[in-house]
């Protein structure tokens, strides 16, 4: 489909609601990654992404075509994640962690070590992001998981363009410092020996 997000959303608003499928297909993977990183639980992340899409669909008339669709959608996702995280924190019997990110089983023995390294990388990144102040961590998630432009990040986080850049920059500096403290991870097992 050659239509961009804004055009699809215009069609959805005019009654062709089945086109919302396409928006889900385009954005679900990146949103799921960000939600996994934020909630550190893939089941909760799945629920957050579904809720975000449901909310976006239910409140589609509130979408303002003057602004970016991605900024609007990711705002909904961040709010949904916050709500869900608050709910999970208030549930005392909730098991914590252990299910950080989606990982398929390795397809062969050769992939096994790479698979373990990926798991470690995901776990490390999620952990380090959660150590950052929330605005910086969210800005990094929007930038690197969502691929949002700084204008869209500013819209989603309700801050200025310079504020969005500052959050990403400060977040990256802190994250880099943390990575140095925790040691490096490489995708090539030979390089780590």
């Amino acid at each position: 489909m050659n239509l961009n997000d804004q055009q699809i959303m215009a069609q959805v608003l005019s009654g062709r609601t089945e086109l919302f499928d396409e928006l889900v297909r385009r954005h679900r993977a990146s949103m799921l990654r960000a939600a996994c990183s934020k909630l550190r639980n893939s089941a909760a992340a799945e629920e957050a992404v579904q809720d975000a899409f449901l909310n976006a669909y239910a409140r589609r008339v509130t979408f303002n075509a003057q602004y970016s669709f991605r900024g609007w959608l990711w705002t909904i996702l961040l709010n949904t994640c916050r709500t869900l995280a608050r709910r999970e924190r208030n549930r005392p019997d909730q098991a914590n962690g252990g299910d950080l990110l989606y990982q398929n089983e390795p397809v062969s023995n050769d992939d096994a070590l790479g698979h373990l390294l990926n798991l470690e990388r995901n776990a490390l990144l999620a952990e380090l992001l959660n150590e950052l102040p929330e605005p910086q961590a969210d800005a990094l998630r929007l930038r690197f998981y969502g691929g949002l432009k700084f204008e869209e990040i500013a819209q989603a986080m309700n801050c200025s363009l310079n504020g969005a850049k500052q959050r990403v920059r400060c977040g990256l500096e802190r994250l880099a410092a943390s990575v140095r403290r925790n040691g490096s991870f490489s995708q090539d097992p030979e390089r780590d020996k």
Binding site: L125, L140, F144, R169, A176, V179
Partner: protein, 220 residues
């Protein structure tokens, strides 16, 4: 040549991070070079994770059923359908909410139907349960039809009402219906001057007997 601001944009964009124009700027700008070096571990980590996850994440494209996926135990069967992502499971919470709403609506509609029927008398409720023959459904019966209609009621329904072993409920229904037929059509017939003649013309003596049974509420 890129500005420092544009260079930062490119550095944090996985696609443009290693562009030639970025390298040119970094070679010419020590401040940006220092920044790029400082941020490199974090940028590398994001790059590696994004690269790996692109092919690992499952997608609900609507072209498959999630029941076939290994994560099916996270959602119940028969989840509420969504207008998008066909075949994709909704969470347990929403499914339960939907079920609760459905049960609630059924209860409400049952109670509403019961309330509507409260004002009806038993006779009309019983008559509704029985399908009237075509002759009985005429809205404007004429005097000339009266005899035939009564004969039809007697021939059909009074026989049922006269059966001693009929279920009490069915018998009551049949008698109620016949009573209404007889009352209506006999009234039309009695408006004529030769009422006796009209009644005497209703079929045969057996029908008269059955009619009497009905009118006086007796079985055969």
């Amino acid at each position: 040549m890129l500005t420092c601001d544009q260079t930062f944009d490119c550095l944090t964009d996985p696609i443009h991070r290693h562009n030639e124009s970025v390298e040119q700027h970094l070679d010419a700008c020590p401040r940006c070079r220092d920044m790029a070096d400082a941020l490199e571990p974090a940028l590398d980590l994001f790059g590696e994770v994004n690269e790996v996850e692109t092919w690992q994440l499952p997608m609900a494209s609507g072209e498959y059923e999630l029941e076939e996926q290994p994560r099916v135990d996270r959602a119940p069967a028969g989840a509420a359908p969504r207008p998008w992502a066909r075949g994709y499971k909704r969470s347990t919470r929403l499914h339960n909410d939907g079920l609760t709403i459905a049960v609630f609506l059924v209860l409400i509609s049952t109670m509403a139907a019961a309330l509507v029927n409260v004002g009806r008398d038993d006779e009309s409720a019983a008559a509704v349960a029985i399908q009237l023959p075509p002759n009985c459904q005429r809205t404007e019966p004429t005097k000339s039809d009266a005899d035939n209609v009564i004969a039809g009621c007697v021939a059909c329904h009074l026989k049922m009402a006269a059966l001693a072993d009929m279920e009490p409920m069915h018998r009551q229904h049949a008698q109620t219906l016949v009573n209404r037929c007889v009352e209506c059509h006999l009234e039309i017939a009695m408006h004529s001057t030769d009422t006796d003649v009209a009644i005497s013309r209703t079929a045969d003596p057996a029908s008269h007997s059955l009619l009497a049974n009905c009118l006086f509420g007796r079985g055969s």
